[in-house]
Amino acid sequence: MNIQRLFKRLKPGRGAVISIPYFWLLLFFLVPFFIVLKISFAEQDLAIPPFTSLMNLEEGGLLHLTLNLGNFDFILSDDFYAKTYLSSLQTALFTTLMCLLLGYPIAYAIARTDPARRNVLLMLVMLPFWTSFLLRVYAWMGLLNENGLINSFLLAIGVINEPLMLFHNDFSLYLVMVYAYLPFMILPLFSHLVKMDGRLLEAASDLGAGPIKAFFTITLPLSKNGIIAGSMMVFIPAVGEFVIPELVGGPDTLMIGKVLWNEFFDNNNWPMAAAVATVMVLLLIVPIAFLHRFETRQLEGKGNE
Protein backbone atom coordinates (compact mmCIF):
# COMPACT_ATOMS: atom_id res chain seq x y z
CA MET A 1 0.00 0.00 0.00
CA ASN A 2 3.08 2.18 -0.46
CA ILE A 3 1.77 3.83 -3.55
CA GLN A 4 -1.48 4.73 -1.85
CA ARG A 5 0.42 6.63 0.79
CA LEU A 6 2.42 8.41 -1.87
CA PHE A 7 -0.76 9.55 -3.61
CA LYS A 8 -2.06 10.86 -0.30
CA ARG A 9 1.07 12.95 0.14
CA LEU A 10 0.73 14.36 -3.34
CA LYS A 11 -2.66 15.99 -2.79
CA PRO A 12 -2.36 18.87 -5.31
CA GLY A 13 -1.11 16.69 -8.16
CA ARG A 14 -3.74 14.10 -7.37
CA GLY A 15 -6.49 16.69 -7.48
CA ALA A 16 -5.33 17.91 -10.86
CA VAL A 17 -5.35 14.37 -12.28
CA ILE A 18 -8.84 13.68 -10.96
CA SER A 19 -10.25 17.02 -12.05
CA ILE A 20 -9.67 16.55 -15.79
CA PRO A 21 -12.11 13.66 -16.43
CA TYR A 22 -14.28 14.78 -13.50
CA PHE A 23 -14.85 18.23 -14.94
CA TRP A 24 -15.53 16.79 -18.41
CA LEU A 25 -18.21 14.44 -17.09
CA LEU A 26 -19.81 17.08 -14.89
CA LEU A 27 -20.07 19.53 -17.76
CA PHE A 28 -21.05 17.16 -20.55
CA PHE A 29 -22.97 14.46 -18.74
CA LEU A 30 -24.43 15.64 -15.43
CA VAL A 31 -25.19 19.32 -16.07
CA PRO A 32 -27.14 18.53 -19.28
CA PHE A 33 -29.70 16.57 -17.23
CA PHE A 34 -30.51 19.68 -15.22
CA ILE A 35 -30.89 21.64 -18.44
CA VAL A 36 -33.30 18.97 -19.71
CA LEU A 37 -35.26 19.33 -16.47
CA LYS A 38 -35.31 23.10 -16.86
CA ILE A 39 -36.49 23.03 -20.47
CA SER A 40 -39.18 20.46 -19.65
CA PHE A 41 -40.88 23.34 -17.76
CA ALA A 42 -40.80 25.61 -20.82
CA GLU A 43 -43.38 25.94 -23.58
CA GLN A 44 -42.99 25.36 -27.29
CA ASP A 45 -42.40 28.62 -29.12
CA LEU A 46 -41.93 29.75 -32.69
CA ALA A 47 -38.40 30.96 -32.15
CA ILE A 48 -34.79 29.82 -32.31
CA PRO A 49 -34.36 27.79 -30.11
CA PRO A 50 -38.03 26.76 -30.19
CA PHE A 51 -38.98 27.20 -26.53
CA THR A 52 -39.88 29.99 -24.14
CA SER A 53 -37.41 31.06 -21.49
CA LEU A 54 -38.39 30.51 -17.89
CA MET A 55 -36.97 33.73 -16.60
CA ASN A 56 -38.12 37.14 -17.79
CA LEU A 57 -36.91 40.51 -16.63
CA GLU A 58 -40.01 42.63 -16.08
CA GLU A 59 -40.14 46.40 -16.39
CA GLY A 60 -39.70 47.17 -12.72
CA GLY A 61 -36.51 45.10 -12.74
CA LEU A 62 -38.33 42.13 -11.26
CA LEU A 63 -37.17 38.71 -12.29
CA HIS A 64 -40.20 36.69 -13.24
CA LEU A 65 -40.00 32.91 -13.18
CA THR A 66 -42.60 30.91 -15.10
CA LEU A 67 -42.76 27.18 -14.57
CA ASN A 68 -45.05 25.49 -17.04
CA LEU A 69 -46.25 22.14 -15.73
CA GLY A 70 -48.34 21.54 -18.85
CA ASN A 71 -45.96 18.98 -20.36
CA PHE A 72 -45.97 16.77 -17.29
CA ASP A 73 -49.70 17.25 -16.86
CA PHE A 74 -50.14 16.06 -20.45
CA ILE A 75 -47.89 13.01 -19.93
CA LEU A 76 -49.81 12.05 -16.80
CA SER A 77 -53.32 12.66 -18.15
CA ASP A 78 -53.00 11.30 -21.71
CA ASP A 79 -52.89 7.53 -21.39
CA PHE A 80 -50.91 7.29 -24.65
CA TYR A 81 -47.77 8.11 -22.67
CA ALA A 82 -48.57 5.73 -19.81
CA LYS A 83 -49.16 2.95 -22.33
CA THR A 84 -45.93 3.76 -24.17
CA TYR A 85 -43.80 3.78 -21.02
CA LEU A 86 -45.38 0.52 -19.93
CA SER A 87 -44.90 -1.15 -23.30
CA SER A 88 -41.26 0.04 -23.44
CA LEU A 89 -40.61 -1.49 -20.03
CA GLN A 90 -42.35 -4.70 -21.12
CA THR A 91 -40.38 -4.92 -24.36
CA ALA A 92 -37.12 -4.34 -22.48
CA LEU A 93 -38.03 -6.93 -19.87
CA PHE A 94 -38.94 -9.53 -22.48
CA THR A 95 -35.73 -8.80 -24.42
CA THR A 96 -33.70 -9.22 -21.22
CA LEU A 97 -35.34 -12.55 -20.37
CA MET A 98 -34.89 -13.94 -23.88
CA CYS A 99 -31.24 -12.79 -23.98
CA LEU A 100 -30.69 -14.52 -20.64
CA LEU A 101 -32.33 -17.78 -21.74
CA LEU A 102 -30.40 -17.83 -25.00
CA GLY A 103 -27.17 -16.27 -23.74
CA TYR A 104 -26.69 -18.38 -20.62
CA PRO A 105 -26.14 -21.75 -22.35
CA ILE A 106 -23.93 -20.07 -24.96
CA ALA A 107 -21.78 -18.33 -22.34
CA TYR A 108 -21.65 -21.55 -20.31
CA ALA A 109 -20.62 -23.61 -23.32
CA ILE A 110 -17.84 -21.16 -24.21
CA ALA A 111 -16.60 -21.08 -20.61
CA ARG A 112 -16.37 -24.87 -20.52
CA THR A 113 -14.47 -25.32 -23.79
CA ASP A 114 -10.73 -25.77 -23.55
CA PRO A 115 -8.79 -22.46 -23.50
CA ALA A 116 -7.37 -22.80 -27.01
CA ARG A 117 -10.76 -23.04 -28.67
CA ARG A 118 -12.44 -20.79 -26.10
CA ASN A 119 -10.71 -17.74 -27.48
CA VAL A 120 -11.85 -18.43 -31.02
CA LEU A 121 -15.45 -18.95 -29.87
CA LEU A 122 -15.42 -15.79 -27.81
CA MET A 123 -14.11 -13.88 -30.79
CA LEU A 124 -16.84 -15.35 -33.00
CA VAL A 125 -19.48 -14.16 -30.54
CA MET A 126 -17.97 -10.70 -30.24
CA LEU A 127 -17.28 -10.12 -33.92
CA PRO A 128 -20.88 -9.14 -34.80
CA PHE A 129 -20.81 -6.72 -31.88
CA TRP A 130 -17.88 -4.92 -33.49
CA THR A 131 -19.61 -4.57 -36.85
CA SER A 132 -22.17 -1.85 -37.24
CA PHE A 133 -25.31 -2.12 -35.13
CA LEU A 134 -27.29 -0.25 -37.77
CA LEU A 135 -26.20 -2.61 -40.54
CA ARG A 136 -27.06 -5.68 -38.44
CA VAL A 137 -30.57 -4.33 -37.92
CA TYR A 138 -30.76 -3.64 -41.65
CA ALA A 139 -29.75 -7.27 -42.36
CA TRP A 140 -32.97 -8.45 -40.71
CA MET A 141 -35.02 -6.25 -43.00
CA GLY A 142 -33.87 -8.43 -45.89
CA LEU A 143 -34.57 -11.65 -44.02
CA LEU A 144 -38.00 -10.87 -42.60
CA ASN A 145 -39.49 -9.05 -45.58
CA GLU A 146 -42.68 -10.43 -47.13
CA ASN A 147 -40.61 -11.75 -50.05
CA GLY A 148 -37.46 -11.95 -47.95
CA LEU A 149 -35.11 -14.87 -47.47
CA ILE A 150 -37.05 -16.67 -44.71
CA ASN A 151 -40.36 -16.57 -46.56
CA SER A 152 -38.78 -17.58 -49.89
CA PHE A 153 -37.09 -20.51 -48.19
CA LEU A 154 -40.23 -21.71 -46.40
CA LEU A 155 -42.30 -21.35 -49.59
CA ALA A 156 -39.70 -23.23 -51.63
CA ILE A 157 -39.62 -26.24 -49.32
CA GLY A 158 -43.40 -26.19 -49.13
CA VAL A 159 -43.89 -25.63 -45.40
CA ILE A 160 -46.16 -22.67 -46.07
CA ASN A 161 -48.35 -21.68 -49.02
CA GLU A 162 -48.36 -17.94 -48.60
CA PRO A 163 -45.76 -15.65 -47.05
CA LEU A 164 -45.85 -15.26 -43.28
CA MET A 165 -46.23 -11.80 -41.81
CA LEU A 166 -42.88 -11.60 -40.04
CA PHE A 167 -42.05 -7.99 -40.57
CA HIS A 168 -43.22 -4.68 -39.04
CA ASN A 169 -44.91 -6.28 -36.06
CA ASP A 170 -44.09 -7.26 -32.48
CA PHE A 171 -42.44 -10.50 -33.61
CA SER A 172 -39.81 -8.72 -35.69
CA LEU A 173 -39.33 -6.10 -32.96
CA TYR A 174 -38.60 -8.69 -30.25
CA LEU A 175 -36.46 -10.86 -32.52
CA VAL A 176 -34.16 -8.03 -33.59
CA MET A 177 -34.00 -6.59 -30.05
CA VAL A 178 -32.77 -9.97 -28.77
CA TYR A 179 -30.36 -10.27 -31.67
CA ALA A 180 -28.85 -6.83 -31.12
CA TYR A 181 -28.51 -7.05 -27.34
CA LEU A 182 -27.38 -10.69 -27.03
CA PRO A 183 -23.61 -9.97 -26.93
CA PHE A 184 -24.15 -7.57 -23.99
CA MET A 185 -25.59 -10.50 -22.04
CA ILE A 186 -23.08 -13.16 -23.11
CA LEU A 187 -19.94 -11.21 -22.20
CA PRO A 188 -20.64 -10.51 -18.49
CA LEU A 189 -22.05 -14.03 -18.07
CA PHE A 190 -18.96 -15.54 -19.66
CA SER A 191 -16.53 -13.53 -17.53
CA HIS A 192 -18.23 -14.82 -14.37
CA LEU A 193 -18.67 -18.41 -15.53
CA VAL A 194 -15.09 -18.78 -16.69
CA LYS A 195 -13.82 -17.98 -13.18
CA MET A 196 -15.86 -20.79 -11.65
CA ASP A 197 -13.89 -23.73 -10.33
CA GLY A 198 -14.84 -26.87 -12.27
CA ARG A 199 -13.85 -29.04 -9.28
CA LEU A 200 -16.96 -27.84 -7.48
CA LEU A 201 -19.10 -29.61 -10.05
CA GLU A 202 -16.95 -32.75 -9.82
CA ALA A 203 -17.35 -32.72 -6.07
CA ALA A 204 -21.10 -32.33 -6.43
CA SER A 205 -21.31 -35.26 -8.80
CA ASP A 206 -19.07 -37.37 -6.51
CA LEU A 207 -21.50 -36.62 -3.71
CA GLY A 208 -24.35 -37.86 -5.86
CA ALA A 209 -25.90 -34.68 -7.24
CA GLY A 210 -27.29 -34.98 -10.76
CA PRO A 211 -26.29 -32.40 -13.37
CA ILE A 212 -29.55 -30.47 -12.97
CA LYS A 213 -29.29 -30.31 -9.20
CA ALA A 214 -25.62 -29.32 -9.47
CA PHE A 215 -26.55 -26.55 -11.88
CA PHE A 216 -29.22 -25.07 -9.62
CA THR A 217 -27.26 -25.38 -6.37
CA ILE A 218 -23.78 -24.45 -7.62
CA THR A 219 -23.49 -22.91 -11.08
CA LEU A 220 -26.51 -20.64 -10.98
CA PRO A 221 -25.84 -19.07 -7.56
CA LEU A 222 -22.16 -18.57 -8.42
CA SER A 223 -23.05 -16.75 -11.64
CA LYS A 224 -25.64 -14.51 -9.97
CA ASN A 225 -23.46 -11.43 -10.38
CA GLY A 226 -22.98 -12.08 -14.06
CA ILE A 227 -26.73 -12.45 -14.50
CA ILE A 228 -27.38 -9.13 -12.76
CA ALA A 229 -24.71 -7.27 -14.72
CA GLY A 230 -25.79 -8.72 -18.07
CA SER A 231 -29.48 -8.08 -17.40
CA MET A 232 -28.89 -4.44 -16.52
CA MET A 233 -26.65 -3.96 -19.56
CA VAL A 234 -29.53 -5.16 -21.74
CA PHE A 235 -32.56 -3.78 -19.90
CA ILE A 236 -31.56 -0.14 -19.38
CA PRO A 237 -30.63 0.78 -22.96
CA ALA A 238 -33.45 -1.38 -24.37
CA VAL A 239 -36.09 0.77 -22.65
CA GLY A 240 -35.06 3.79 -24.72
CA GLU A 241 -34.24 1.98 -27.96
CA PHE A 242 -35.12 3.97 -31.06
CA VAL A 243 -33.48 2.43 -34.16
CA ILE A 244 -34.98 -1.07 -33.90
CA PRO A 245 -38.64 -0.05 -33.37
CA GLU A 246 -38.25 2.54 -36.11
CA LEU A 247 -36.80 0.15 -38.72
CA VAL A 248 -38.42 -3.22 -37.97
CA GLY A 249 -41.23 -2.45 -35.50
CA GLY A 250 -44.88 -2.25 -36.49
CA PRO A 251 -46.86 0.95 -37.08
CA ASP A 252 -48.55 0.52 -33.70
CA THR A 253 -45.36 -0.36 -31.82
CA LEU A 254 -45.21 1.86 -28.77
CA MET A 255 -41.66 2.64 -27.67
CA ILE A 256 -40.79 5.73 -25.68
CA GLY A 257 -37.50 6.32 -27.53
CA LYS A 258 -39.47 6.66 -30.74
CA VAL A 259 -41.96 9.04 -29.10
CA LEU A 260 -39.12 11.26 -27.85
CA TRP A 261 -37.54 11.27 -31.31
CA ASN A 262 -40.84 12.21 -32.97
CA GLU A 263 -41.56 15.00 -30.48
CA PHE A 264 -38.14 16.44 -31.13
CA PHE A 265 -37.55 15.95 -34.86
CA ASP A 266 -41.08 15.81 -36.31
CA ASN A 267 -43.15 18.03 -34.00
CA ASN A 268 -40.21 20.28 -33.11
CA ASN A 269 -41.61 20.27 -29.56
CA TRP A 270 -38.38 20.40 -27.56
CA PRO A 271 -39.97 21.03 -24.13
CA MET A 272 -42.21 17.98 -24.60
CA ALA A 273 -39.21 15.87 -25.65
CA ALA A 274 -37.41 17.11 -22.54
CA ALA A 275 -40.38 16.18 -20.33
CA VAL A 276 -40.53 12.69 -21.91
CA ALA A 277 -36.78 12.32 -21.26
CA THR A 278 -37.14 13.48 -17.65
CA VAL A 279 -39.78 10.86 -16.88
CA MET A 280 -37.65 8.20 -18.60
CA VAL A 281 -34.62 9.12 -16.47
CA LEU A 282 -36.79 8.88 -13.36
CA LEU A 283 -37.87 5.39 -14.40
CA LEU A 284 -34.30 4.30 -15.15
CA ILE A 285 -32.62 5.84 -12.10
CA VAL A 286 -33.39 2.82 -9.92
CA PRO A 287 -31.92 0.18 -12.28
CA ILE A 288 -28.90 2.40 -13.03
CA ALA A 289 -28.23 2.97 -9.32
CA PHE A 290 -28.59 -0.77 -8.82
CA LEU A 291 -26.07 -1.54 -11.56
CA HIS A 292 -23.70 1.08 -10.17
CA ARG A 293 -23.86 -0.15 -6.56
CA PHE A 294 -23.41 -3.67 -7.74
CA GLU A 295 -20.34 -2.80 -9.85
CA THR A 296 -18.70 -0.84 -7.05
CA ARG A 297 -19.18 -3.76 -4.68
CA GLN A 298 -17.71 -6.09 -7.30
CA LEU A 299 -14.62 -3.94 -7.72
CA GLU A 300 -14.06 -3.40 -4.04
CA GLY A 301 -14.26 -7.13 -3.50
CA LYS A 302 -11.71 -7.58 -6.25
CA GLY A 303 -9.39 -4.90 -4.83
CA ASN A 304 -9.20 -6.59 -1.42
CA GLU A 305 -8.02 -9.90 -2.76
Binding site: L25, L127, A139, M141, L143, N147, W261, A277
Partner: protein, 283 residues
Protein backbone atom coordinates in the same frame (compact mmCIF):
# COMPACT_ATOMS: atom_id res chain seq x y z
CA UNK B 1 -13.15 -24.07 -15.27
CA UNK B 2 -11.62 -27.31 -16.49
CA UNK B 3 -12.04 -28.84 -19.90
CA UNK B 4 -14.83 -31.27 -20.18
CA UNK B 5 -16.77 -32.64 -23.08
CA UNK B 6 -19.73 -30.39 -23.77
CA UNK B 7 -23.11 -32.06 -23.54
CA UNK B 8 -25.10 -32.32 -26.80
CA UNK B 9 -27.49 -29.68 -25.45
CA UNK B 10 -24.70 -27.15 -24.93
CA UNK B 11 -23.15 -27.93 -28.30
CA UNK B 12 -26.52 -27.46 -29.95
CA UNK B 13 -27.15 -24.14 -28.20
CA UNK B 14 -23.71 -22.89 -29.15
CA UNK B 15 -24.27 -23.82 -32.79
CA UNK B 16 -27.76 -22.30 -32.75
CA UNK B 17 -26.43 -19.11 -31.18
CA UNK B 18 -23.69 -18.75 -33.76
CA UNK B 19 -26.12 -19.41 -36.60
CA UNK B 20 -28.48 -16.79 -35.15
CA UNK B 21 -25.63 -14.29 -34.99
CA UNK B 22 -24.20 -14.99 -38.43
CA UNK B 23 -27.08 -15.82 -40.80
CA UNK B 24 -28.14 -12.17 -41.15
CA UNK B 25 -24.56 -11.07 -41.79
CA UNK B 26 -23.91 -13.80 -44.36
CA UNK B 27 -27.17 -13.05 -46.17
CA UNK B 28 -26.20 -9.37 -46.33
CA UNK B 29 -22.93 -10.27 -48.01
CA UNK B 30 -24.46 -12.78 -50.43
CA UNK B 31 -27.10 -10.33 -51.63
CA UNK B 32 -24.54 -7.58 -52.11
CA UNK B 33 -23.42 -9.56 -55.20
CA UNK B 34 -26.97 -9.75 -56.52
CA UNK B 35 -27.53 -8.29 -59.98
CA UNK B 36 -31.19 -7.49 -59.29
CA UNK B 37 -32.21 -4.18 -57.77
CA UNK B 38 -34.78 -6.08 -55.71
CA UNK B 39 -32.41 -7.04 -52.94
CA UNK B 40 -34.04 -10.34 -52.01
CA UNK B 41 -34.72 -11.68 -55.51
CA UNK B 42 -31.62 -13.35 -56.97
CA UNK B 43 -30.85 -12.05 -60.47
CA UNK B 44 -27.36 -13.41 -61.03
CA UNK B 45 -23.87 -12.52 -59.82
CA UNK B 46 -22.69 -8.96 -60.16
CA UNK B 47 -20.33 -6.51 -58.52
CA UNK B 48 -22.08 -3.46 -59.89
CA UNK B 49 -23.33 -2.26 -56.49
CA UNK B 50 -19.74 -1.96 -55.31
CA UNK B 51 -18.92 0.13 -58.37
CA UNK B 52 -21.92 2.40 -57.81
CA UNK B 53 -21.08 2.63 -54.11
CA UNK B 54 -17.65 4.05 -54.89
CA UNK B 55 -19.23 6.62 -57.20
CA UNK B 56 -21.77 7.74 -54.62
CA UNK B 57 -20.33 11.06 -53.50
CA UNK B 58 -22.79 11.45 -50.64
CA UNK B 59 -21.57 8.19 -49.11
CA UNK B 60 -17.89 8.88 -49.80
CA UNK B 61 -17.97 12.28 -48.10
CA UNK B 62 -19.97 10.84 -45.19
CA UNK B 63 -17.33 8.12 -44.76
CA UNK B 64 -14.62 10.78 -44.70
CA UNK B 65 -16.41 12.82 -42.04
CA UNK B 66 -17.21 9.75 -39.94
CA UNK B 67 -13.60 8.52 -40.00
CA UNK B 68 -12.31 11.96 -38.98
CA UNK B 69 -14.77 12.18 -36.10
CA UNK B 70 -14.03 8.60 -35.04
CA UNK B 71 -10.25 9.14 -34.92
CA UNK B 72 -10.59 12.47 -33.11
CA UNK B 73 -13.04 11.18 -30.52
CA UNK B 74 -11.18 7.91 -29.98
CA UNK B 75 -7.98 9.87 -29.30
CA UNK B 76 -9.70 12.13 -26.78
CA UNK B 77 -11.63 9.22 -25.25
CA UNK B 78 -8.44 7.21 -24.76
CA UNK B 79 -6.71 10.15 -23.06
CA UNK B 80 -9.58 10.99 -20.72
CA UNK B 81 -10.65 7.35 -20.24
CA UNK B 82 -7.15 6.20 -19.28
CA UNK B 83 -6.89 8.93 -16.64
CA UNK B 84 -10.37 8.09 -15.39
CA UNK B 85 -9.62 4.35 -15.28
CA UNK B 86 -6.39 5.06 -13.41
CA UNK B 87 -8.20 7.29 -10.90
CA UNK B 88 -10.88 4.65 -10.32
CA UNK B 89 -8.42 1.79 -9.87
CA UNK B 90 -5.66 3.47 -7.87
CA UNK B 91 -7.10 6.42 -5.95
CA UNK B 92 -10.24 4.51 -4.92
CA UNK B 93 -11.79 6.85 -2.33
CA UNK B 94 -11.70 10.62 -2.65
CA UNK B 95 -14.33 13.32 -2.12
CA UNK B 96 -16.97 12.78 -4.79
CA UNK B 97 -15.56 9.42 -5.88
CA UNK B 98 -18.95 7.77 -5.80
CA UNK B 99 -20.46 10.42 -8.09
CA UNK B 100 -17.44 10.07 -10.36
CA UNK B 101 -17.83 6.30 -10.64
CA UNK B 102 -21.55 6.75 -11.28
CA UNK B 103 -20.91 9.23 -14.08
CA UNK B 104 -18.56 6.67 -15.66
CA UNK B 105 -21.10 3.83 -15.60
CA UNK B 106 -24.18 5.74 -16.68
CA UNK B 107 -23.19 6.84 -20.22
CA UNK B 108 -22.71 3.21 -21.25
CA UNK B 109 -26.26 2.17 -20.45
CA UNK B 110 -28.25 5.42 -20.64
CA UNK B 111 -30.51 5.36 -23.72
CA UNK B 112 -28.92 7.51 -26.37
CA UNK B 113 -32.07 9.50 -27.07
CA UNK B 114 -31.63 10.93 -23.56
CA UNK B 115 -27.89 11.65 -23.71
CA UNK B 116 -28.24 13.08 -27.21
CA UNK B 117 -31.10 15.40 -26.30
CA UNK B 118 -29.52 16.53 -23.04
CA UNK B 119 -26.19 17.29 -24.64
CA UNK B 120 -27.86 19.23 -27.42
CA UNK B 121 -29.79 21.33 -24.91
CA UNK B 122 -26.50 21.99 -23.08
CA UNK B 123 -24.90 23.28 -26.29
CA UNK B 124 -27.94 25.46 -27.05
CA UNK B 125 -27.77 26.96 -23.54
CA UNK B 126 -24.02 27.49 -23.82
CA UNK B 127 -24.54 29.25 -27.11
CA UNK B 128 -27.12 31.58 -25.57
CA UNK B 129 -24.88 32.33 -22.59
CA UNK B 130 -21.37 32.56 -24.04
CA UNK B 131 -21.82 32.19 -27.79
CA UNK B 132 -19.82 28.96 -27.99
CA UNK B 133 -20.26 26.55 -29.82
CA UNK B 134 -21.47 28.79 -32.65
CA UNK B 135 -23.08 25.95 -34.56
CA UNK B 136 -23.70 22.24 -34.40
CA UNK B 137 -21.27 20.07 -36.32
CA UNK B 138 -17.90 18.40 -35.99
CA UNK B 139 -17.13 19.84 -32.55
CA UNK B 140 -20.46 19.00 -30.92
CA UNK B 141 -20.46 15.45 -32.34
CA UNK B 142 -16.85 15.03 -31.17
CA UNK B 143 -17.75 16.02 -27.59
CA UNK B 144 -20.71 13.61 -27.59
CA UNK B 145 -18.75 10.65 -28.93
CA UNK B 146 -15.81 11.35 -26.61
CA UNK B 147 -18.10 11.31 -23.56
CA UNK B 148 -19.70 8.04 -24.66
CA UNK B 149 -16.42 6.30 -25.55
CA UNK B 150 -14.34 7.44 -22.56
CA UNK B 151 -16.60 5.43 -20.27
CA UNK B 152 -15.80 2.24 -22.20
CA UNK B 153 -12.07 3.01 -22.21
CA UNK B 154 -12.16 3.70 -18.46
CA UNK B 155 -13.82 0.34 -17.76
CA UNK B 156 -11.27 -1.57 -19.85
CA UNK B 157 -8.28 0.27 -18.34
CA UNK B 158 -9.61 0.01 -14.78
CA UNK B 159 -10.15 -3.74 -14.94
CA UNK B 160 -6.66 -4.22 -16.41
CA UNK B 161 -5.12 -2.08 -13.65
CA UNK B 162 -6.92 -4.09 -10.98
CA UNK B 163 -5.50 -7.28 -12.49
CA UNK B 164 -1.84 -6.26 -12.50
CA UNK B 165 0.37 -6.32 -9.51
CA UNK B 166 0.88 -3.02 -7.74
CA UNK B 167 4.21 -4.19 -6.34
CA UNK B 168 5.97 -3.08 -9.54
CA UNK B 169 4.81 0.48 -8.95
CA UNK B 170 5.68 0.21 -5.26
CA UNK B 171 9.18 -1.03 -6.10
CA UNK B 172 9.76 1.82 -8.55
CA UNK B 173 8.74 4.26 -5.87
CA UNK B 174 11.02 2.68 -3.29
CA UNK B 175 13.84 3.10 -5.79
CA UNK B 176 13.07 6.81 -5.86
CA UNK B 177 11.11 7.29 -9.09
CA UNK B 178 8.74 10.25 -9.26
CA UNK B 179 5.00 9.54 -9.61
CA UNK B 180 4.80 10.87 -13.16
CA UNK B 181 7.81 8.77 -14.14
CA UNK B 182 6.24 5.70 -12.52
CA UNK B 183 3.07 6.32 -14.48
CA UNK B 184 4.78 6.69 -17.84
CA UNK B 185 7.51 4.05 -17.42
CA UNK B 186 5.72 1.31 -15.44
CA UNK B 187 1.95 1.75 -15.42
CA UNK B 188 1.32 2.91 -18.96
CA UNK B 189 3.21 0.06 -20.72
CA UNK B 190 1.37 -2.46 -18.54
CA UNK B 191 -2.01 -1.18 -19.66
CA UNK B 192 -0.96 -0.47 -23.27
CA UNK B 193 -3.00 -3.39 -24.53
CA UNK B 194 -6.12 -2.27 -22.71
CA UNK B 195 -5.63 1.21 -24.13
CA UNK B 196 -5.27 -0.21 -27.64
CA UNK B 197 -8.49 -2.19 -27.37
CA UNK B 198 -10.18 0.85 -25.84
CA UNK B 199 -9.11 2.86 -28.87
CA UNK B 200 -10.44 0.26 -31.32
CA UNK B 201 -13.70 0.02 -29.41
CA UNK B 202 -14.05 3.82 -29.42
CA UNK B 203 -13.47 4.00 -33.17
CA UNK B 204 -16.17 1.42 -33.87
CA UNK B 205 -18.62 3.00 -31.42
CA UNK B 206 -18.12 6.42 -32.96
CA UNK B 207 -18.33 5.15 -36.55
CA UNK B 208 -21.59 3.42 -35.71
CA UNK B 209 -23.37 6.03 -33.64
CA UNK B 210 -26.63 7.27 -35.12
CA UNK B 211 -28.91 8.54 -32.36
CA UNK B 212 -26.58 10.86 -30.46
CA UNK B 213 -25.15 12.15 -33.74
CA UNK B 214 -28.63 12.98 -35.04
CA UNK B 215 -29.15 15.35 -32.10
CA UNK B 216 -25.67 16.87 -32.26
CA UNK B 217 -25.07 17.30 -35.99
CA UNK B 218 -25.84 20.39 -38.00
CA UNK B 219 -26.98 20.85 -41.60
CA UNK B 220 -23.46 20.64 -43.02
CA UNK B 221 -22.32 17.55 -41.14
CA UNK B 222 -23.92 14.27 -42.17
CA UNK B 223 -22.13 11.16 -40.91
CA UNK B 224 -22.21 7.71 -42.47
CA UNK B 225 -24.81 6.20 -40.10
CA UNK B 226 -27.11 9.14 -40.86
CA UNK B 227 -26.83 8.48 -44.61
CA UNK B 228 -27.39 4.74 -44.09
CA UNK B 229 -30.38 5.40 -41.84
CA UNK B 230 -32.05 7.79 -44.27
CA UNK B 231 -31.61 5.22 -47.06
CA UNK B 232 -32.73 2.07 -45.23
CA UNK B 233 -35.75 3.87 -43.77
CA UNK B 234 -37.11 3.81 -47.32
CA UNK B 235 -36.49 0.07 -47.68
CA UNK B 236 -33.82 -2.31 -48.91
CA UNK B 237 -30.97 -0.84 -50.88
CA UNK B 238 -28.31 -2.95 -52.67
CA UNK B 239 -25.63 -0.28 -52.24
CA UNK B 240 -26.05 -0.54 -48.47
CA UNK B 241 -25.51 -4.30 -48.77
CA UNK B 242 -22.22 -3.63 -50.56
CA UNK B 243 -21.25 -1.09 -47.90
CA UNK B 244 -22.12 -3.57 -45.14
CA UNK B 245 -19.98 -6.30 -46.73
CA UNK B 246 -16.98 -4.00 -46.87
CA UNK B 247 -17.53 -3.03 -43.21
CA UNK B 248 -17.73 -6.66 -42.13
CA UNK B 249 -14.56 -7.49 -44.05
CA UNK B 250 -12.57 -4.57 -42.61
CA UNK B 251 -13.78 -5.12 -39.04
CA UNK B 252 -13.32 -8.90 -39.26
CA UNK B 253 -9.72 -8.62 -40.43
CA UNK B 254 -8.95 -5.95 -37.81
CA UNK B 255 -10.43 -7.91 -34.92
CA UNK B 256 -8.77 -11.18 -35.93
CA UNK B 257 -5.35 -9.53 -36.33
CA UNK B 258 -5.70 -7.63 -33.04
CA UNK B 259 -6.80 -10.77 -31.23
CA UNK B 260 -3.86 -12.73 -32.65
CA UNK B 261 -1.35 -10.04 -31.64
CA UNK B 262 -2.76 -9.80 -28.13
CA UNK B 263 -2.69 -13.55 -27.58
CA UNK B 264 0.88 -13.65 -28.82
CA UNK B 265 2.12 -10.93 -26.50
CA UNK B 266 0.19 -12.45 -23.62
CA UNK B 267 1.94 -15.78 -24.15
CA UNK B 268 5.29 -14.04 -24.40
CA UNK B 269 4.66 -12.19 -21.15
CA UNK B 270 3.59 -15.35 -19.38
CA UNK B 271 6.73 -17.15 -20.53
CA UNK B 272 8.91 -14.23 -19.37
CA UNK B 273 7.16 -14.20 -16.00
CA UNK B 274 7.65 -17.94 -15.59
CA UNK B 275 11.35 -17.61 -16.46
CA UNK B 276 11.77 -14.77 -13.97
CA UNK B 277 10.07 -16.84 -11.28
CA UNK B 278 12.34 -19.80 -11.94
CA UNK B 279 15.43 -17.60 -11.75
CA UNK B 280 14.43 -15.88 -8.53
CA UNK B 281 13.57 -19.16 -6.85
CA UNK B 282 16.87 -20.72 -8.05
CA UNK B 283 18.88 -17.74 -6.81
Amino acid sequence: MNNQQLSPFLKGMLLLGLLFLYIPIVSLIVYSFNDSKLVTVWGGFSTKWYASLFQNEQIISAVELSVQIALASATAAVTLGTIAGFVLARFKRFPGSSLFAGMMTAPMVMPEVITGLSMLLLFISMQQLIGVPAERGFFTIWVGHTTLCMAYVAVVVRSRLLEIDQSLEDAAMDLGARPLKIFFVITLPLVAQAIASGFLLSVTLSLDDLVMTAFLSGPGSTTLPQVIFSKVRLGLNPEINALASITVLVVGVLVIVANYLMLNSQRKRERAMAAAMRESSAG
